[in-house]
Symmetry: C2
Subunit: 438 residues, 2 copies
């Protein structure tokens, strides 16, 4: 019986702060990073599972140590038994009676579980010879709900209700899969709108986005209101009246300030406001949503787990659910969140600004289209054109759409050269920059 045998972690960091890519009102100088994991087995097929947690620099060592702490939860396990019960595997990690104290179900330890769970899913899809979205989309409704932990969800979503949602979506699966393979999945771009860019670059990138076929862009806001009004006006002029402009405050405001700021930008037609305040503030988001209607609230990239998403939906705090592939505890928990969103009829528009987040999260939206919500209405996946060259199966964007991946796995695998050169602090990208700065 083949078993999991190897568990190899890497602290990988990209010096993105040098160009202010990724700069916003709260994250001034991110170095996009991955606490990266490779798992191997003795199955003899040569297949590996790759997964990672995303961070923005300092602390990536802590995140890597947290993944390392899960080694004994995987190494030695029977391969087939594990892959045949990934719902049970998820619970064995999340409900570890001692590790749960470090969360529970939040922060560094929860993201570490996400990296391990995702690496195992990557391997599962490779062994099945299909991309992850297709592996998930071919599961029966019963198999899908078996992946989900309904603990703490049953006041909003029971197992039976989830089954009903999935069964209702079964008849159209083949047709939607066909549609997905032909047309891809709608994307929007954040590339024009980073706070660190000057006005000329903003306008130029806005025009390019429209020329590239995007129908939605996003601007970072929240540092200075006068600047935001000017940038919003420039962006609106550049893209014209028909392209959606979302804004993203990255948690910058308190409740009253959020309402006032968004109202000041309303004349330029705001599609959504993202992360107006603390990601923990369910009631604050609800108050903001009431205060800025009909402009809508989006959030989720920092929402720690399914329990908080449940409440954001219950309280009417948001109208777009922004799942993140590397914040919660991996594929299983994101399936729970997709089901919650479907229950409440709220569209899912994933967060993907980071390294590798586009590669991963596209699979979840494509699964959602085929087997859960059955729709792309008002749904778009974020696209940011950073760092894709480091992946073996990078995302492909055509005419403002993600092209459905065909390669087996979860598209999570970085090249060996990247793992070597960007490893922190010993990789040459870091040792050479240290030399330069001396």
């Amino acid at each position: 019986m083949p078993r999991f045998t190897e568990f190899e972690t890497y602290d990988v960091r990209f010096p993105t702060s040098r160009d202010l890519d990724g700069s916003d009102a709260m994250n001034a100088d991110p170095d996009y990073s991955a606490a990266y994991l490779i798992v191997r087995t003795d199955a003899g097929d040569g297949l590996e599972g790759h997964g990672f947690a995303f961070t923005i620099g300092r602390g990536n060592d802590v995140q890597t140590a947290a993944i390392e702490a899960l080694r004994d939860h995987l190494v030695g396990l029977d391969l087939d038994a594990t892959l045949n019960d990934l719902g049970g595997f998820w619970k064995s990690l999340v409900h570890d009676s001692q590790l749960r104290w470090l969360g529970p179900e939040k922060g560094v330890m929860h993201m570490a579980i996400g990296a391990v769970v995702n690496a195992v899913w990557d391997l599962a899809a490779k062994r099945a010879g299909v991309p992850l979205w297709k592996l998930l989309a071919d599961l029966t409704p019963e198999q899908i709900v078996d992946l989900v932990d309904f603990r703490y969800l049953t006041d909003a979503l029971t197992r039976d209700e989830a089954l009903e949602i999935l069964r209702k979506a079964e008849p159209g699966r083949a047709e939607r899969e066909q549609q997905l393979r032909e047309r891809g999945y709608p994307a929007y771009t954040t590339t024009p709108g980073w706070l660190g860019y000057d006005d000329d670059k903003l306008v130029r990138l806005c025009r390019e986005a429209v020329a590239d076929g995007f129908t939605q862009i996003k601007l970072k806001v929240g540092a200075d209101l006068d600047d935001d009004i000017r940038r919003m006006r420039l962006a609106r002029e550049a893209v014209g009246p028909d392209v959606r402009i979302a804004i993203d405050a990255n948690q910058r405001w308190d409740v009253a300030e959020a309402i006032a700021w968004v109202r000041a930008l309303a004349p330029y037609d705001v599609w959504w406001v993202e992360e107006p305040t603390s990601p923990d503030d369910i009631l604050g988001h609800a108050a903001i949503a009431r205060g800025i209607a009909p402009i809508r609230v989006a959030t989720g990239e920092h929402v720690q787990n399914r329990v908080v998403f449940k409440q954001l939906l219950q309280a009417g705090s948001l109208e777009f659910v922004q799942i993140d592939s590397a914040r919660v505890a991996g594929v299983n928990e994101n399936i729970a969140i997709l089901l919650l969103a479907a229950k409440f009829g709220v569209p899912v528009c994933p967060h993907a600004g980071g390294v590798g987040l586009c590669e991963l999260v596209q699979h979840l939206s494509m699964f959602d289209l085929v087997a859960v919500s059955g729709s792309t209405d008002q749904r778009v996946i974020e696209y940011v054109d950073h760092l894709h060259e480091h992946f073996l199966d990078p995302v492909v964007i055509e005419a403002g759409h993600y092209v459905a991946p065909t390669r087996p796995g979860y598209s999570a695998e970085m090249g060996a050269g990247t793992l070597r050169d960007f490893r922190f602090p010993a990789g040459k990208v870091w040792t050479e920059s240290k030399e330069q700065s001396k």
Copy 2:
């Protein structure tokens, strides 16, 4: 100018799982642990600051690594400038533009900040030559609010409102300090009620608690309803009708189950139910509170930060705020939570089941009595009689009350022998047990 010069971390673990001390419905086998920190300066006074995060075993290495990641945030700082602006110091840790991605403000990284902040407060009180509660209680209202970060709180509590609360409590400070020094601060005991204890031990410990002068005890519940009904009946018979019995489910239930279970125990007179469901479930707690009234809800030991406490108060989710000295980001954030509780008129009854949590949190309740809420009405500090012998300034309980500490500092300091012998995995307590189990 003296500076912070040394930053020494220890992974310290106590093998408490061997006796099932600390066992409850979710934490079956805790090894009480501390990710421990000593900070030193070149001031030449020989004083050190001690602080720690509390965990229950596995993962204490990750927690220690997270504290270690904050070394450069302290070492090198000017000592006096730091101690004179501990509000600013707090923000420099919590709002680090890269580290915040690991939370923000939750889980491993946030607890690490708490350990560092608390170590610096321990040093501050030692340098002032007073116990921490006294140091805080002698600050002016303006100095106290300068310690607090009101970001994300202003929809419930502004700086001006906090000042008003503190100014209102100023006149009676001296009198309440006198009362505190004479009578101490009321305690309750969790010692009888761990789930791993058999009925005879439960009854014996209940009787001892009453004989020792406690007017409130607590029982762990949530594993089996029939067992809980029997244990609750035995406890009620043992303590009589006048001693309060609180119950603690340690996050075991979903909403509907919590309501049904608590109602089944209601005939035995339940003072509060603690952690009925996920600590993240603000709306769930509110639904439970409505469903079990007049029995009241207590929670907080796993509440990640002031933003969640704010909402628990706004939503009517609890009627007892259980602060924890080592869960949130240290003294400063707990002051914010004390102020929130005072604003909403909800009593604070700290959590202290763990190692060193009694030692620390007593200072916060005593400060609250003298300078914030000005009351002990319905307020009790948890007491658990574990592991106090490892501390240089252990808590003293007399007639069911905490005696106010008089020794300078935050009572956080473990003995050198403990740090040596219980260090994991190299300390002799762990190497010898490994030998035995071979």
